[in-house]
């Protein structure tokens, strides 16, 4: 009987182990595939053409700079929009909100996370685009800024749930000590709790940025997709084209193995690298946190 129990355990733990390793395997396979399909682009498209500013692939213009610029611009703008709302909501949920409010607000934020981005894009086209064009007196409402607002909405739930966890993990003794020293509630939040959870909050922001960078559908629907180099002061309020939207809208038509095809995979590699950097930065931040906490406790 005991023997059988052991083998049952080992079967289950074996299955779980395979599940765990499988994600490493998948990432590796995806990376190999991306590299195999994308790297030949460096050979078939001269670098001077690759780092130019005209993207019109059906006529052989393969400048990816406007796409990289477009992605960075909307992602940064989305982060600036999502940051105050995300962290503000997390602080409110964890520090201020009464229990009943928390019970309403948390599920609502989770529902926001669950709204398909295509639905957000649809609302964007019908409501946000005309609204922004009229209120900001723009030539068109299909701009990077419109995309940034939607991306901000998409990134907020990620930031809220992870930052709130970080804030909840701050030992209550910190708050009590702050209040006992005569600090107001606001001073305690701003000066004690938030700094104590700083690296957890930083992780939340990084993951939010990663979410915004990879988003495709909503961005494709509202940014206008014009491959213009965002090099003017008002570029955020002009149409732009992101890397993800480019891959999504052009992948279906390219002939397998053509320079254009390889280049779309090359853009995929760049996106992969960018999100890798963001994830590594996030995990560096969180491991640093643990070490410092250990130091304080010891």
């Amino acid at each position: 009987m005991k023997k059988f129990k052991l083998s049952g355990d080992s079967v289950i733990s074996g299955v779980i182990k395979i599940c765990g390793y499988s994600s490493i395997l998948f990432v590796t396979l995806i990376l190999i595939f991306l590299l195999r399909e994308g790297l030949p682009a460096l050979a078939s498209v001269p670098l001077s053409s690759l780092f130019s500013t005209v993207w019109y692939p059906i006529e052989g213009y393969f400048g990816i700079l406007p796409l990289i610029g477009g992605s960075l611009l909307v992602t940064i703008a989305a982060t600036i929009i999502a940051l105050p709302f995300g962290i503000g909501t997390a602080v409110y949920l964890s520090e201020i909100a009464p229990r009943w409010m928390k019970e309403i607000l948390k599920p609502v934020v989770e529902i926001l996370a669950g709204i398909p981005s295509v639905v957000l894009g649809f609302i964007g086209i019908l409501v946000l685009v005309p609204f922004l064009r009229k209120t900001l007196h723009l030539a068109t409402g299909l701009t990077g800024f419109t995309g940034a607002i939607l991306l901000g909405l998409i990134a907020i739930p990620t930031i809220v749930s992870i930052a709130e966890d970080a804030l909840n993990n701050v030992p209550p003794a910190y708050r009590q000590a702050g209040l006992a020293l005569g600090a107001t509630r606001w001073q305690t939040m701003w000066g004690v709790t938030l700094p104590a959870a700083k690296t957890g909050v930083l992780t939340a922001v990084m993951l939010g940025i990663g979410r915004a960078l990879g988003e495709t559908m909503a961005v494709m629907m509202v940014t206008g997709n014009a491959p213009v180099m965002p090099d003017q002061w008002n570029s955020l309020f002009l149409p732009i084209r992101t890397m993800t939207a480019t891959i999504a809208s052009e992948m279906g038509e390219v002939a397998t193995g053509s320079a254009h095809y390889q280049l779309l995979f090359f853009i995929g590699i760049l996106l992969f690298l960018m999100s890798l950097i963001i994830n590594v930065a996030a995990s560096l931040a969180s491991t640093k946190q643990r070490k410092r906490a250990e130091r304080i406790l010891s």
């Binding site: 059988f4 129990k5 049952g8 289950i12 005209v54 019109y56 692939p57 059906i58 006529e59 213009y61 406007p66 086209i125 019908l126 685009v129 005309p130 064009r133 030539a139 068109t140 409402g141 299909l142 494709m220 629907m221 206008g224 997709n225 014009a226 491959p227 213009v228 002009l238 149409p239 084209r241 809208s249 052009e250 279906g252 038509e253 390219v254 002939a255 053509s258």
Partner: protein, 296 residues
């Protein structure tokens, strides 16, 4: 241990239940009639509504044949044809030499059928006072040489150029026929700030809402919420003509083209019957109903 067994048993049960359900479905799909067939039809977004209407009407003619219609763009459809994932590809442009070469490399012999004609309507917001444009003005607008509506007789407003994505046959046709004015030596391309929208609906939505916008779309897609612009050709620059079935047929409306269906090989069986029916008067009547121009 018992828990483990229950879990495994549950998983097995679910797997088995799943299998049996699927096999039943598969069984019932085969039964109805002898001459049933399944035709996969994909491609041009310009043609997709027409293809859907045909597929629906064909249900009454030949109930055993089920036809699945999807859009995605001419390039998407032709690529799928080359990859042998569709039986009929819809295209609003002719197959390109590269696509033909890769189809032949895959052992196919693609066949072309002209199934309807289409006018590309140039559309603006109803508030825009501009009623007509010459082909040359259109070319300059889309090349980025004319940037304000006042230069073509409108109000002092910036021009927002809208286009379909580059995988659209309409985009490629418009580039050749309008931006380059049919001159194959010309290497001009769309102005870089041209908005590339992923769907016909996206273009209609933006033109309907934005008085600065100019767009183009298949005649069949134009709704009454946007305004069509009369266009004159290069030979008679003062004869402005609105697109319609009549002006396409008599050749006075210049931005018009043929619409195509491609098969992998010379069609046989159900696919041949379907294509023959499409060219019949009954099916060509549907072409007129949807705002396209019949071939006969």
């Amino acid at each position: 241990m018992r828990k483990v067994l229950i879990v495994i048993g549950g998983i097995l049960f679910l797997l088995l239940a799943g299998c049996s359900g699927r096999s039943q479905e598969a069984g019932s799909a085969v039964t109805p009639s002898q001459n049933n067939a399944y035709i996969e039809n994909k491609g041009s977004d310009t043609i997709v509504n027409l293809a859907l209407a045909w597929a629906e009407a064909y249900q009454k003619v030949e109930p055993g044949v089920s036809i699945s219609v999807t859009g995605g763009g001419s390039g998407t459809g032709l690529t799928a044809l080359v990859n042998k994932t569709v039986d009929i590809a819809n295209a609003s442009r002719q197959i390109s030499p590269e696509e033909l070469a890769s189809a032949q490399a895959a052992g196919l012999d693609p066949q072309e059928f002209v199934i309807a004609r289409d006018a590309i309507a140039v559309i603006v917001n109803p508030e825009n006072p501009v009623e007509h444009l010459s082909l040359e003005q259109l070319s300059k607008i889309y090349r980025g040489e004319i940037n304000n509506w006042s230069e073509v007789g409108g109000e002092d407003r910036p021009i927002v150029r809208l286009s379909r994505e580059t995988n659209s046959g309409t985009h490629v046709y418009f580039l050749d026929a309008v931006v380059r004015l049919g001159n194959s030596q010309d290497k001009a391309i769309f102005s870089r700030d041209t908005l590339l929208l992923p769907s016909s609906e996206g273009i209609i939505a933006e033109v309907r809402d934005n008085p600065n916008a100019i767009g183009y779309d298949g005649l069949g897609y134009v709704t009454s919420e946007v305004k069509m612009v009369a266009v004159s050709g290069l030979e008679h620059p003062d004869d402005y003509v609105l697109p319609s079935a009549a002006t396409v047929t008599n050749g006075t409306y210049v931005i018009s083209r043929s619409l195509y269906m491609y098969t992998q090989n010379p069609p046989v069986g159900a696919i041949k019957d379907y294509l023959d029916w499409i060219l019949s008067p009954d099916a060509q009547k549907i072409v007129v109903d949807l705002g396209f121009v019949p071939v006969k």
